[in-house]
């Protein structure tokens, strides 16, 4: 009898043995399996949530990838926001300077009659 044939006989006997384990052992094994399946379900829900948030219903992307690239994708958006904010601030400052340095007295700008005359003139 060669090694494989001998091992095959041993395997048959070992399998017979696993078919006759005590009920306490088989019960514990079943409980362990159920706990593992619960953990698997929790993990699956978590990964689905990440995939959905990362791809908004498109092909699933593993959450570790989106977690790695998301901060990099936010950097250009942040830069655009800063540039826009600076541009708006400069624009308002330029208007203020123009008003203060013009020949028109500041009292005219707060006069309601002047505003009404300005509107009327622009309509004509």
């Amino acid at each position: 009898m060669n090694e494989r044939e001998f091992a095959s006989k041993i395997k048959q006997d070992l399998n017979y043995g696993t078919g006759h384990l005590k009920s306490q052992v088989t019960d514990r094994l079943r409980q362990s399996r159920e706990r593992a399946l619960e953990a698997f379900a929790t993990q699956t829900i978590r990964e689905n949530a990440y995939a959905f948030a990362g791809n908004l219903g498109h092909a699933p992307l593993h959450f570790t990838h989106s977690r790695k690239w998301l901060p990099l994708a936010l950097i250009p958006l942040l830069l655009i926001g800063v540039i826009y904010w600076q541009h708006e601030t400069n624009h308002e400052e330029n208007i203020d300077v123009a008003l203060l340095t013009s020949d028109i007295p500041l009292n005219v700008l707060v006069d309601k009659n002047f505003q009404a005359w300005l509107d009327q003139s622009s309509q004509q």
Partner: protein, 199 residues
């Protein structure tokens, strides 16, 4: 059907797959752990740890990878148990080296087995008893094998991994796996022959 629905459907199928896989492997896993640690509660804990690790950390793996992954996790969990025991019992090991060990004499694999109930077995009670006793002897001899030989033999011939897969799980060369298997087979055959069991 949206991509997300397809994705969810495939995940559910995998859950069924993992359930069936664990159901098929759990008893052999328990026996493997039991042969290694010789303690029923510890063996059950090891199998539970291995199942949880597989479910939590490798949920995204394909079904065909499960046997290899599970065996690797199981063997690593058994090694972790050895390491913890080694640290915990460092001082008792020193003391036990001064006194003869009788751990092997206390261990009886028959304790984990129940006699067949006979409902699906056509053998008569005498044959069943003979077989249970024979299996008890085989399990005792497997337990007595050096750990690496036992690991290689069980992975290769009980879990039916090929030589390359066994080598990967054990973290050794294919040549070492063949050597371990060959030595384990010869040791087992000689031990059983010495007890009057001809292979």
């Amino acid at each position: 059907m949206s991509a997300l629905k397809t994705f969810r459907k495939s995940r559910l199928a995998t859950q069924h797959e993992i359930s069936e896989f664990l159901k098929g492997v759990e008893r052999r896993a328990f026996k493997q752990a039991y042969f290694a640690v010789r303690n029923e509660e510890s063996a059950l804990d090891i199998v539970q740890d291995a199942m949880l690790k597989l479910a939590e950390k490798y949920a995204a793996k394909a079904g065909e990878e499960l046997p290899m992954l599970f065996q690797r996790i199981l063997q690593n969990t058994i090694r972790d148990y050895y390491r913890r025991q080694k640290v915990r019992n460092a001082w008792t090991t020193l003391l036990s080296a001064l006194t003869p060990s009788n751990a092997d004499e206390d261990f009886d694999p028959l304790e984990t087995m129940q006699p067949a109930d006979g409902s699906n077995d056509k053998n008569n009670p005498h044959d069943q008893l003979d077989r249970v006793q024979l299996i008890g002897l085989i399990e005792k001899e497997i337990t007595a094998l050096p750990p690496r030989q036992r690991e290689a033999f069980l992975l290769r011939y009980w879990e039916e991994l090929d030589v390359a897969q066994t080598a990967e799980v054990m973290g050794c060369s294919e040549g070492s796996v063949k050597t371990h298997c060959s030595r384990a087979t010869h040791t087992l055959a000689a031990a059983l022959k010495a007890k009057g069991i001809e292979s």
